[in-house]
């Protein structure tokens, strides 16, 4: 399984029935492919939709129905449409239970940096800042390291922040890590990885729970 799919599959297990969930662009967009059987969630999209289903099959797209990443999507039972102001009222008003976001950097205290590389990439914030700051729970889904192999999980972020202290959990192809008041706590580790590898590729100290660390 490609690493992105592995992350998405693991991330899917964090959802609970009844939750309102926002899926960011990139890896989060793959999560619906791994929806556990029987789980009933309400996927919100910033452009004014609640109740998104899987992406539309080729040939069955609806020209009026895209998600915030411009993908043609389907609807689940109980879906609804609304304007952009209400869509962000839902986000900023605290009705999004879970927001999955990609990132450039994430720090040991949950700071998130995913929207700007000064002088290099600044296409706009989109809905990410409001989701990061106001969703009840933010989970970062990301490759454990940069394309060049450098760490993305850091003692502190170097890039400008999207929101401070917002990330609760980090899911990578190597590990599931919770951001706790004490620091980064390793919750699970990939079957093909090791404690040493995870720590080596993480530029912040990791805490380990007592006993065996579950594998995924």
């Amino acid at each position: 399984m490609p690493y992105k799919n592995k992350i998405a599959a693991r991330a899917a297990l964090e959802m609970r029935s009844g939750q309102v969930i926002n899926l960011g662009i990139g890896i989060p967009n793959l999560i619906l492919d791994y929806l556990p059987a029987g789980l009933e969630i309400f996927v919100q999209s910033e452009n004014g939709i609640l109740g998104i289903g899987p992406r539309s099959a080729a040939g069955s797209e609806d020209r009026n129905l895209i998600d915030a990443g411009a993908n043609y999507v389907t609807l689940n039972q109980g879906a609804s449409f609304f304007d952009s102001a209400l869509s962000f009222a839902l986000i900023r008003g605290g009705r999004v239970d879970l927001s999955f976001l990609g990132t450039l950097e994430v720090s040991q205290n949950g700071d998130l940096a995913n929207w700007i590389i000064p002088g290099k990439m600044a296409p706009g914030i989109g809905g990410g800042m409001e989701l990061a700051q106001k969703a009840k729970r933010v989970i970062v889904t990301t490759s454990h390291t940069t394309r060049e192999g450098g760490p993305k999980i850091l003692t502190q972020c170097n890039l400008p922040l999207t929101a401070r202290g917002c990330v609760k959990t980090i899911i990578t192809e190597l590990a599931v890590i919770d951001v706790t008041p004490q620091g980064l706590m390793l919750r699970e580790i990939a079957v093909e990885s090791s404690l040493d590898e995870v720590q080596e590729k993480t530029d912040a100290p990791l805490l380990f729970p007592p006993g065996d660390i579950p594998r995924f």
Binding site: S17, G18, V20, E40, F42, Q44, L50, G51, L75, Q77, G78, A79, S80, F81, F82, A85, L86, F88, A89, L90, I91, R92, G93, G94, R95, K134
Partner: protein, 231 residues
């Protein structure tokens, strides 16, 4: 399937003494008379109510006012309820009155996760004297804070089990705004339909804002035509 319908007691035992409660409705339409009656019977007290008006004597929230369950009423106009006006004048009830659209905006701002907004409504009047005033481009603006509540009670015409709502005609008024602005939202619905039976383009309020639904068995006379307002 997710099913937010529940019993009236399970829904309303979330309202505790001292809570701030938003209650939908403009006059009769949109007023959740059944939920209010139960709250009245439940005896919850020291409430702060947020509602456009005070209904009329003996009806709707006037029951809560008259029984002394309410400490503060935040409203726009209570002129149709002489009982409430009398309580206000006797200082048995604290009443905070806002211009109607400003009250709507304060509630909406709470629902939209804003801290407040700036308006020029009333800057040239005595309202200004009891408001926070800031200067903007050399002119005065009134700063109005967002309002939120512990619980919102509203009436809907149709709900599906996931909480998607449709309101009827002028019964919409403050209901969808208040549903965005409380930690827990309780809806009484004249009809509950299966999830999936509403057209997504015609839903007035997405189910994400709704926590509990009470399916109304009957509409008591309060919901009907009030002769005093008919020709």
């Amino acid at each position: 399937m997710i099913d937010k319908t529940t019993t009236i007691s399970n829904a309303l035992n979330r309202v505790h003494d001292g809570h701030t409660v938003m209650i939908g409705g403009f006059g009769g339409p949109g007023t959740p008379f059944t939920l209010i009656e139960f709250l009245h019977q439940q005896g919850t007290k020291n409430l702060t109510l947020i509602k456009n008006d005070a209904n009329e004597p003996g009806m709707g929230i006037s029951k809560l006012l008259e029984s002394g369950q309410v400490q503060t009423l935040i409203a726009s106009h209570i002129g149709l309820n002489p009982a409430a006006v009398a309580m206000m004048n006797r200082r048995e009830l604290e009443v905070l009155l806002y211009p109607q659209g400003i009250l709507a905006e304060k509630i909406r701002a709470g629902g939209a996760g804003l801290l407040g907004f700036l308006t020029d409504i009333g800057v040239d009047t005595i309202l200004r004297d009891s408001r926070e005033v800031i200067h903007l481009d050399g002119r005065e603006a009134i700063l109005e804070r967002a309002l939120r509540a512990d619980v919102t009670l509203i009436h809907a015409a149709i709900a599906d089990r996931a909480g998607n709502l449709i309101f009827a005609k002028s019964a919409r008024n403050f209901c969808p705004l208040m549903a965005t602005a409380a930690d827990q939202v309780i809806v009484e619905a004249e009809m509950v339909v299966e999830t999936g039976s509403l057209d997504p383009d015609q839903v007035h309020l997405p189910g994400a804002f709704v926590d509990f639904i009470l399916a109304l068995d009957e509409l008591t006379p309060e919901y009907g035509i009030l002769p005093q307002h008919a020709l």
